[in-house]
Amino acid sequence: MNPQRWAQVVLLPVLLGVVGCAAAPGRTATVDLPQPLDGVTYFTSAESSALHDAYEELVTRCMRDRGFAYRPTPLSSATRLRDINPYGLLSREEARIDGYRITSSLAGDAQARPRPAQAPTSTPGWDEALLGTEAHRVTVQLPEDHEMYYNSDGCTYQATAALYGDDWQRLYDTFQVLANRVVETVSQDAEFRGAQSVWSACMERAGQPARTFDEARGRIEGAFTRAAENRSDLMPVVRQELATAAADADCQDEVGMTAAVRAAQGRAQAAVLDTSRRGQLDQLRRLRAEVLRRVTASPGATPR
C-alpha cells in the first residue's frame, strides 16, 4: 500500500473518531492545569491559530509594501501538540477523549499537513525583505547564558513588533527560557519525584507500568511511529493510547499530582523571579493579554 493510500484507509477512521471528538469547541481542560509562570508563554492551539493569521497578514502586507509577493503558510494540524501540558499532567476528561493527543495530532498531520508555501520569488532581495539584514542585527542576552539575535528590518520582525509590541521578542524569549527552567526544576523536585513514584505504583496496579510520565507517553509515541513506518492499522494504537492515558490521569488524580506540581512550581518560580524579573513578567503579561484581546475580539483587525 502506498503512503497516500495508507493515509486514506488507516487514518480516516482515526481522524473521524478521535480528532472529531477532541476538536469539539470547549474541550480546553488542559488550560486549567498548572503552567510555568502562569502560562505567560503558552497559547492554546486556538489562540496560536488566531495569532498566526494576524501575523501572516502583517507579513504579507509588509512584503507587498516592499514590492514582493508572499504566500502565508498555514499552521500544521499538529499545533494541538502545543496543548500538551509541559509537566505531563492530564485531565481525566481529556485523557478519555483524546489520550495524550499523540495519535490524533500526528495522524491529522500525516493526512492534512499543509505543504509550506514555497518562497514564490526567493531571491537575495526577497529573503532580505522577509528576514532582514545583518546591518540591523540586534543581539539579546537571555537568562541561562542563552544569546539570541533578530534582524529588526525584516518583515518577520516588524510584523511581530506591530502585532505584539516592540518589547515582545526580548521579553518572550527571556521568559520562555525561564519557564523551561521552572519545568526542569519541578521535574527534579523531591516532592514531585515522590508523587511520581506513588503514581508509578498506581500505574503498575492498573496494568500500565511506567516509572515516569515521559515513559508512559513515550511508549505511545513509539507505537505510533512503528505503525506509521509499517503503514499498519492505527486503531490498536488509538486504543492503547486511550487506555494508557486514562490510567495515567486516574493515577495522577489519586496521587494528587496537580497539587504536587503546583507546590513544586511555586518553589521553582520563586527561585527564578527576582524583583526586576517580576516587573518584566508583568510587562509580558500585559502584552500577551492585549494581543489576545485584539485578535480574539476582532479577527483580522491587525494593526497598521
Binding site: 496560536s48 500544521s76 544569546e147 521578542q169 523551561n180 509515541e221 511511529t225
Partner: protein, 130 residues
C-alpha cells in the same frame, strides 16, 4: 549525519525520522544561503545546528520534522542554532519525541549561544506549530 548540501529533498528522507518523512514534513525553500555569518552559512529552508558558538564550523541541517535529533552529531552537540526557514517558525525540544522543554525559534533568527538548558541537547523539532 552527513553534511553534504546537494539535494535537500533527498536529505529530508535521510536525516528525518521515517515518521517525519511519512508526514511529508519537508520545509524546503530555496537553496539560498543566508546569515549567520559563519564559515558555512545555513542553507535556505533549513534549521541548522552548529557545534560552536556564533555558528562556527559546518552546520548540521534538517528540513523536516524530526522525533529524534540526538542521533545526529551536530544537534546532539549543538552550541548554536539558526532557523533559515523561509516559510515557517520552528519549535525545538530538549527531549526526543517533541517532549518539553520546548523553545520557539522564529524564522530568520538564531541562538548565537545555547545556554544551560538546551546546550548540547537539541532532541527534536517541528515546523509550523505557531
Amino acid at each position: 549525519m552527513r553534511q553534504e548540501a546537494h539535494n535537500p529533498v533527498r536529505r529530508v528522507a535521510r536525516v528525518g525520522s521515517s515518521l517525519a518523512a511519512l508526514t511529508a514534513a519537508a520545509v524546503i525553500g530555496s537553496m539560498l544561503t543566508a546569515a549567520p555569518a559563519s564559515a558555512d552559512p545555513c542553507p535556505g529552508g533549513a534549521l541548522c545546528a552548529y557545534t560552536q558558538y556564533d555558528w562556527g564550523g559546518a552546520p548540521g541541517t534538517v528540513y523536516g520534522d524530526n522525533t529524534n535529533l540526538l542521533q545526529y552529531t551536530k544537534f546532539a552537540n549543538a552550541a548554536s542554532l539558526y532557523n533559515n526557514g523561509n516559510s515557517c517558525n520552528v519549535t525545538v525540544y530538549y527531549n526526543t519525541g517533541y517532549r518539553a522543554p520546548a523553545y520557539n525559534l522564529n524564522r530568520g533568527t538564531g541562538w548565537k549561544r545555547l545556554g544551560s538548558n538546551l546546550y548540547h541537547h537539541v532532541g527534536s523539532n517541528r515546523w509550523c506549530l505557531y
